[in-house]
């Protein structure tokens, strides 16, 4: 059959195919972004931005690994820009935040494993005092409500609010130490 649009197929690169690259990279790129913002709404927004920005680069990319590395690079800068819009950040601290919980996907170019965030979270929790670890596990890992958490911990809901803040704060310092201190 006739090509639908000869003028377009002339200028569009034949390889490697947007669909192939998209399918190969979307799960790991989305997971990476999700692990940075922690909610679907923002993760979908940012993922869209990343792919739309990377589209020209993808056209020229011939190799799936190279495309993946490129996408992760774009993802990092996109998240960094996004955060800079909200937070007053030192340059170095951005790198910490972007690296935390992830094994340099831009360097290896390998798809992230499903265990990326879970492993990192376990490492962080293991360094916390027991009650902190407990409240964060209930609230995040088990996804319990404030009320359920209070019941399990035999605390008031107001108690849990204080405790979860302190635990999160402490955990964030652990993240900082780990990333500043080098590979974890």
């Amino acid at each position: 059959m006739q090509q639908n649009t000869p003028a377009q197929t002339d200028v569009a690169p034949a390889a490697p195919g947007l669909r192939t690259l998209y399918e190969a990279t979307l799960p790991s790129v989305f997971r990476y972004i999700y692990s940075k913002v922690g909610n679907r709404e923002e993760a979908e927004d940012l993922t869209s931005q990343v792919y739309l920005k990377a589209l020209r680069g993808l056209d020229e990319t011939r190799d799936a690994n190279a495309a993946q590395a490129w996408l992760f690079q774009v993802a990092r800068t996109t998240i960094a820009d996004y955060w800079r819009g909200f937070y007053r950040l030192r340059t170095g601290s951005l790198d910490d935040l972007l690296a935390a919980g992830w094994d340099s996907p831009t360097i290896t170019g390998e798809p992230a494993t499903d265990q990326g965030a879970a492993t990192r979270a376990a490492q962080i929790l293991s360094q916390l005092p027991e009650r902190y670890r407990e409240v964060l596990s209930y609230r995040f890992l088990l996804n319990l409500s404030l009320k359920e958490t209070a019941a399990r911990m035999n605390l008031t809901e107001a108690n849990v609010k204080v405790l979860q803040f302190r635990a999160l704060k402490k955990a964030s310092l652990v993240v900082e130490q780990d990333t500043v201190g080098g590979e974890s």
């Binding site: 639908n4 940075k36 909610n39 965030a117 803040f165 955990a171």
Partner: protein, 317 residues
């Protein structure tokens, strides 16, 4: 580390013996942290306003912990989102290609050359030099089963997305996607109008297979465009006064060439072109099969929009 269940934390900055952390605490911080956690649990964007570096770190840590939860099925891509984004990317890619191509080529190029002319029954079953392929690539039952994606995907990008989803996890697609609405070999020819029912200058809406589009009889022949807005997939309406295709949803407007009208709020990607041809006194379009019966000729009972020479309210001139 010690802990004492009996002591309420309010009275004990030393609940966990971590005085440094609690030095500068305020009730507001408790509230903000709580709201952050609840936003993540609801998969919603948390409030992010002019925070400090500590706020950023807290937020990033919460994100990591939430992403680690097996409860939230975190990190798994929503297939509807995946389909929508892919449709946007294809449209954007088409737009980028169009930028470097001569103006107006997409729609003119969509005209089928006489060399392609063959009896319709053969056209649907053979492709020049290529092995026969399933005719219902675009909207299959399997596509529908994938979380009801069949209809959504068809609305967003015709064949491309569903085919992509069907092929995910299997072998890579045999052919790279093109910017045309229906990839070569993935569609069927459907007659949408009698030749003399669409005079020069007329615009006629059609529904064929899984595609809704507009057929135009231009000075240089028949041109067909997708009738779905490239922004959020609302159905376009023909505005005969302005000679534009208008989107009722977000103000999108497209010229008869398929390009976004100048002065539009946002320059959306152009409307994908659909192949056309004239044969046996009929105008045919090359579309994705499936949604409407794809037999030839269409029976009167199931395809009023494809009645030859039908004149609807959308016809002009």
């Amino acid at each position: 580390m010690t802990s004492d269940d009996q002591r309420p934390p309010e009275n004990n900055a030393h609940l966990e013996g971590d005085d440094a952390v609690s030095e500068l605490e305020s009730a507001e911080q408790y509230v903000r942290a709580h709201e952050l956690i609840e936003s993540l649990r609801a998969e919603r964007r948390p409030v992010r306003d002019a925070g400090s570096e500590d706020d950023a770190r807290l937020s990033a840590t919460a994100a990591l912990l939430h992403a680690a939860s097996p409860e939230s099925e975190s990190g798994a891509v929503d297939p509807i989102f995946a389909a929508r984004l892919f449709a946007r990317l294809e449209a954007e890619q088409a737009r980028l290609s169009g930028e470097s191509a001569p103006a107006e080529t997409p729609t003119v190029a969509a005209l089928t050359t006489p060399a392609e002319a063959a009896p319709p029954t053969e056209v649907t079953e053979t492709t020049s030099g290529q092995p026969p392929r399933p005719r219902r690539v675009g909207v299959s039952r399997r596509g529908v089963l994938l979380g009801g994606l069949g209809a959504a995907a068809a609305a967003f990008a015709g064949a491309g997305v569903t085919a992509a989803l069907e092929q995910s996890g299997k072998q890579p697609p045999a052919t790279p996607p093109t910017s045309a609405l229906v990839p070569e070999g993935a569609g069927i020819w459907v007659a949408v109008a009698a030749l003399d029912a669409v005079p020069k200058g007329a615009v006629k809406r059609f529904e064929a297979g899984a595609v809704i589009g507009y057929l135009q009889h231009t000075a240089s022949g028949f041109v067909a465009l997708s009738g779905v807005c490239t922004h959020m997939a609302c159905l376009l309406q023909w505005n005969s006064g302005e000679q534009t295709f208008d989107c009722p949803c977000h103000g999108g407007r497209f010229l008869t060439s398929g390009k976004a009208a100048p002065g539009a709020l946002y320059p959306y990607p152009p409307l994908p072109a659909i192949q056309t041809k004239v044969e046996a006194e009929q105008v045919w379009v090359y579309v994705t099969g499936g949604a409407v019966n794809d037999q030839f000729p269409p029976s009167e009972a199931t395809s009023t929009t494809r009645n030859y020479g039908a004149t609807g309210p959308l016809d002009v001139k």
